[in-house]
Symmetry: C2
DNA sequence: GCATATTTGTCCGTATGTATA
DNA sequence: CTATACATACGGACAAATATG
């Protein structure tokens, strides 16, 4: 596990003062999670308890509770008597995540006709957001639209627990995306696939949409795996 | 939230002394989880920090970390400045759980032909265990065999993350089973269904097996929901 | 409605064990 | 092997919220 001693990112955490009362640990966890998904806290980085708790003006116990939350989300790994580190997902983890996503999202997309109109509209909105982003050459928006698209597909099943699980899986995947330097390279191929899936759904060709979704998973996984194994 | 002041179950927690070194909070969480799934810690019961930490010979901070873990598994609920309570899942929660299980397990069962022989054998073993239990009129074993069966179905997909999620869902569901006084009443109908599903799988009739699995979910959910709403 | 006791939320200081230089 | 740095866990403290009479 590589240990980068730079704590430059600490400043960005302490900018706004945390107010006193409740759920402080969860707010700290939210802050740390944001920094991880921004790419500021890179995979493999060690998180020092004292440095962070001092920077945030909170106690170590509170910070440890935040670490627990993030460890449970698989964004941090905990090595006994060594500390916590930002996860760096490898090939095995990525394959496992895609196996889970294949099951969940393919199961969810079949509910298209049974889903609420609101849920179906969520899928359309996600695609539309990505189309606008691509038109304005904003590939960061295209990336987030892709996330939104897959969360919207999952939401067709109408289960909060399923939604949360997919959100965890996507957050974990985001740490693997770190190896993809250029977001455009990764996402430009997938926006057309999302549009195709939506077109099939709107034509009530649900089985074909599921097949297309499976093709997406195959391509995205192999794309990511080849990048990860070549390091 | 009902608060039962009886702390009789504390003795059974403190029986074997906790050894010193690692992951103490996780072991405490395991102990508490076992007591919940045994039915010793009944839904709605409040867990007193000081009483439990004293009984276990651990500090409050360590116990609070264990609470965090179990809260994240949805086995405990945390009410601010009031404390933690054993979850009592209602109709909405149960429906949500079954919606998630329908997606996950139906997606997983389709992998039957692609799964490893080891995973397929796991399904056969679970059914066989239930058959033996029924023959010996041991309905507790039949109950655990049902849990094993559904975990084995999930394992066909070959994703550790999916397995863990289903395990969480089943643990949460177990708290809802509390309203079913007689385990035999609940399980005796489902063992034949599991046998039928296995027979269809072994005949490579995967689509029919999935349909039968869906029927199981519909029956189990309505069975539980009618019991929960009539209180 | 009020006063009191209990419980929780938050934090500190410290002793101990462990890994790394 | 020693020294240093760090994580682990404990006990105690105090404020704030809640429950009880």
């Amino acid at each position: 596990m590589t240990t980068a001693p730079s704590h430059d990112w600490l400043g960005s955490l302490a900018d706004d003062r945390l107010s006193q009362d409740r759920a402080r640990a969860e707010r700290v966890a939210d802050k740390l999670r944001d920094r991880m998904l921004d790419g500021e806290l890179t995979p493999g980085l060690q998180l020092n308890e004292k440095a962070i708790s001092d920077a945030l003006g909170i106690s170590r116990n509170t910070l440890r509770e935040a670490f627990r939350l993030l460890t449970h989300e698989r964004l941090l790994v905990h090595e006994h008597s060594r500390g916590v580190f930002v996860c760096e997902p490898g090939v095995d983890e990525v394959s496992d995540i895609y196996a889970a996503r294949r099951v969940i999202e393919c199961g969810a997309i079949r509910r298209w006709t049974d889903a609420t109109e609101e849920a179906r509209q969520g899928v359309r909105d996600a695609v539309a957001f990505g189309v606008r982003g691509a038109a304005m050459d904003n590939w960061l928006d295209v990336g987030t639209s892709n996330i939104r698209f897959h969360r919207a597909i999952t939401a067709l099943a109408g289960s909060l627990r399923l939604n949360e699980e997919v959100q965890r899986l996507l957050a974990e995947l985001r740490l693997a995306f770190y190896v993809m330097g250029n977001p455009r390279e990764f996402y430009q191929d997938y926006l057309p696939m999302n549009r195709a899936i939506l077109a099939l759904l709107d034509a009530d060709a649900v089985a074909e949409a599921e097949q297309e979704l499976l093709r997406y998973f195959d391509r995205a996984e192999s794309h990511l795996v080849t990048r990860l194994s070549g390091r």
